[in-house]
């Protein structure tokens, strides 16, 4: 609404500047050139190479064929690894959202000084190495770890529980490691919501839950979608955490791919795994984006 008059006054100034705008557009493209070149050399080229390698029919890379894809898609073991990886992503994303949304709400509603402190706590994981964080979780979840020591000490259990090298432990660790990726977009979306909307809702007779479900939640849907996309993508490709906390019993796509490439030297199959993984992830992302598209209208309030 306030943009109206501002635009109107800007009009006459911008009107004679039509060539200026064209010049600006040209300049914009040139500014993107270095990044474009970087992407071409370090992203698109390797990707094309990967695609090419995946079309070799044999590990020796002597002839072309779709054998690697057929091998993956017809092999129940490979499909199970793919399914387990995507499911891991879903579990981690769900847990991160469940824990991250209240945290984001707390952060948004907190008064100034507390807000700064909470933001720091949320950002802290991003400032430490993934390896360090993962080893911390090993210390926490191990047989002689903090959790088991506490449970034993309190007499809640006689024998140490197996927490490390379980899917539950892995989901928990990944959720903690990826938490900032969920909380930051959520906080951005939440703080964009006009605080008067919640007041308006209350004045109209709505209780706290109705206000949350009908006003706050739908309006921060773009943030939820963005957070889920980031968390999902990060969780399924978290090679280090997956391998260290998951241990040898659980196999996920990144490790599967790594084994094929570096231990078995089967580059074409590793490349095919990568491509299949990429396509599967893109499909998930597209699906999530579709949900986001439905909520796009809300964003520009």
């Amino acid at each position: 609404m306030t943009a109206g008059p501002a635009m109107a006054t800007a009009g006459p100034v911008a009107a004679p500047g039509r060539p200026v705008r064209a010049w600006t557009a040209a300049y914009d493209i040139r500014l993107a050139l270095p990044l474009g070149a970087f992407f071409l050399v370090f992203f698109l080229a390797p990707l094309a190479l990967l695609l090419l390698v995946s079309f070799y029919a044999d590990p020796g890379m002597t002839r072309f064929g779709l054998d690697q894809y057929a091998r993956f898609l017809l092999d129940p073991f490979s499909l199970r690894v793919l399914g387990a990886t995507l499911w891991l992503g879903v579990e981690v994303t769900a847990l991160t959202l469940l824990l991250g949304l209240p945290l984001a709400l707390l952060l948004t509603w907190a008064p100034g000084r507390l807000r700064g402190l909470l933001t720091l706590i949320v950002l802290l994981p991003l400032l430490t190495s993934v390896v360090v964080r993962t080893f911390a979780w090993i210390v926490i979840l191990g047989r002689q770890g903090i959790v088991n020591a506490a449970l034993l000490g309190l007499g809640l259990t006689d024998t140490p529980l197996k927490l490390l090298y379980t899917e539950g432990g892995l989901v928990l660790a990944l959720a903690q490691v990826q938490m900032p990726l969920m909380v930051l977009p959520l906080v951005t979306a939440l703080s964009r919501i006009d605080p008067n909307l919640a007041d308006a809702s209350a004045a109209l007779g709505a209780g706290a839950w109705r206000t949350f479900l009908r006003v706050t939640l739908p309006l921060c849907l773009p943030g939820i979608v963005a957070g889920c996309l980031l968390t999902f993508a990060a969780a399924i490709t978290a090679f280090i955490t997956q391998s260290l906390i998951g241990g040898g019993q659980m196999l996920f796509m990144p490790m599967y791919l790594y084994q094929q490439a570096s231990s078995l030297n089967n580059w074409p199959f590793a490349a095919a795994i990568a491509i299949v993984f990429l396509v599967a992830v893109l499909a998930c992302v597209t699906l999530l984006n579709l949900v986001g598209r439905l909520s796009r209208g809300y964003a520009q309030a």
């Binding site: 004045a203 109209l204 209208g297 809300y298 520009q300 309030a301």
Partner: protein, 360 residues
């Protein structure tokens, strides 16, 4: 007016502190049922704070809010029957106009069929039936404002609060909406509190005006009283325009009271304040007359402006003070040329209001 039909609203000694800052200082307002009261005051004087206290969005540091004889201080906003229209309307951007209006009805458990009927009724009231399917972002400011009004009225609130509802509207639309709100408010008999810093709006719409300054209630009276009989210097200068002259009270020849101006000259007045009191004397431009001989303040015309139906002059008094005058302009009349010597006097001594001077 449907006074008595609506719900009474009493603000009883409301005080709001933010840290050590006093945003609202013991404001007491006794509002009759069906009355339209304007809260008028400069920016930051505590108008919104008072409104938020009535709605229940904040719990005042001290004081009580009494709606229809019931103290509501322990009730959260959703349990008070108070409708509010925010300055920025605060429409739900992800809901259509109809859904916005239906929101409060759904929250209060009104059945589907009745919701639909009431939404149609409300949209007809604000003349927006044809836009029921639109989203707020697809509408003009004035239309959004009417939706906000329909949404607030749909739940039949006993008290209606409007926070600068016309600030974003252009002049013509503003007048239309002022009349519209007055019409709706009268027909529904809803007790209404409207916040504004536009004095014309307050004077034209309200049954009574509460003038606030720096968190304090300066005067609570009908618009004509606020204008004609201001109780404080602030009200006199904030509502309408006034010339302010400083001086000391004295008794003139024949027992009449006068203000002996610091810059020289005597200004007749009517007051109960004792002689010797330092005062600020206020005189509205339209109450200054050009005298022909007799008593008065002498000066020269600095500039004269023909403003359509009125003639405005700025006079420089011999003592150095400046005085504005305004008079009806007869057909063909021109302003007096600069440099003309004139003698000024108030149209009547009662027109000169004096207030104890707080400058010293």
């Amino acid at each position: 007016m449907s006074a008595g039909a609506g719900t009474t609203l009493i603000l009883d000694g409301i005080t709001q502190r933010y840290g050590t800052a006093l945003a609202v200082d013991t404001v007491t307002l006794d509002i009759k049922g069906g009355e339209l009261v304007a809260l008028l005051g400069p920016s930051g004087c505590g108008k919104t704070t008072l409104l938020r206290a009535v709605a229940g969005f904040l719990k005042p540091t001290e004081g009580r809010v009494i709606i229809g004889g019931q103290a509501v201080d322990h009730l959260p906003p959703n349990r008070r029957t108070v409708g509010i229209v925010f300055q920025n309307y605060a429409l739900f951007p992800h809901m259509s106009v109809a859904d916005n209006v239906a929101y409060g009805l759904a929250a209060r458990g009104v059945g589907r069929a009745e919701q639909k009927a009431r939404v149609a009724e409300m949209l007809a009231l604000v003349r927006l039936e044809h836009l029921a399917g639109r989203y707020p972002r697809e509408m003009s400011g004035g239309q959004q404002q009417r939706v906000a009004l329909a949404r607030a009225l749909a739940v039949r609130p006993s008290i209606l609060l409007l926070d600068e509802p016309f600030a974003a509207l252009d002049k013509n639309l503003r007048l239309d909406m002022q009349i519209e709100i007055k019409r709706i408010q009268r027909s529904a008999g809803t007790t209404t509190l409207i916040v504004t810093h536009d004095q014309e709006e307050a004077l034209s719409m309200a049954d009574r005006v509460a003038v606030l300054n720096a968190g304090r209630l300066e005067q609570f009276a009908p618009p004509t009283d606020v204008y004609d009989r201001p109780e404080t210097l602030f009200v006199n200068t904030f509502v309408g325009t006034a010339n302010v002259l400083h001086g000391r009270l004295a008794t003139g020849p024949g027992g009449t009271r006068v203000v002996a101006l610091e810059t020289g000259g005597l200004l007749p007045t009517v007051t109960a304040l004792p002689d010797g009191t330092r005062v600020a004397a206020c005189l509205r431009p339209q109450h200054v007359a050009f005298a022909t001989g007799g008593e008065g303040l002498d000066g020269v015309v600095e500039i004269g402006l023909p403003l359509g139906a009125t003639l405005v002059h700025e006079i420089r008094l011999d003592g150095g003070a400046r005085l504005k005058t305004a008079e009806a302009r007869a057909a063909g009349a021109r302003p007096r040329p600069p440099g003309t010597r004139v003698r000024l006097s108030p149209t009547a001594p009662e027109r000169v209001s004096v207030f104890p001077d707080s400058r010293h």
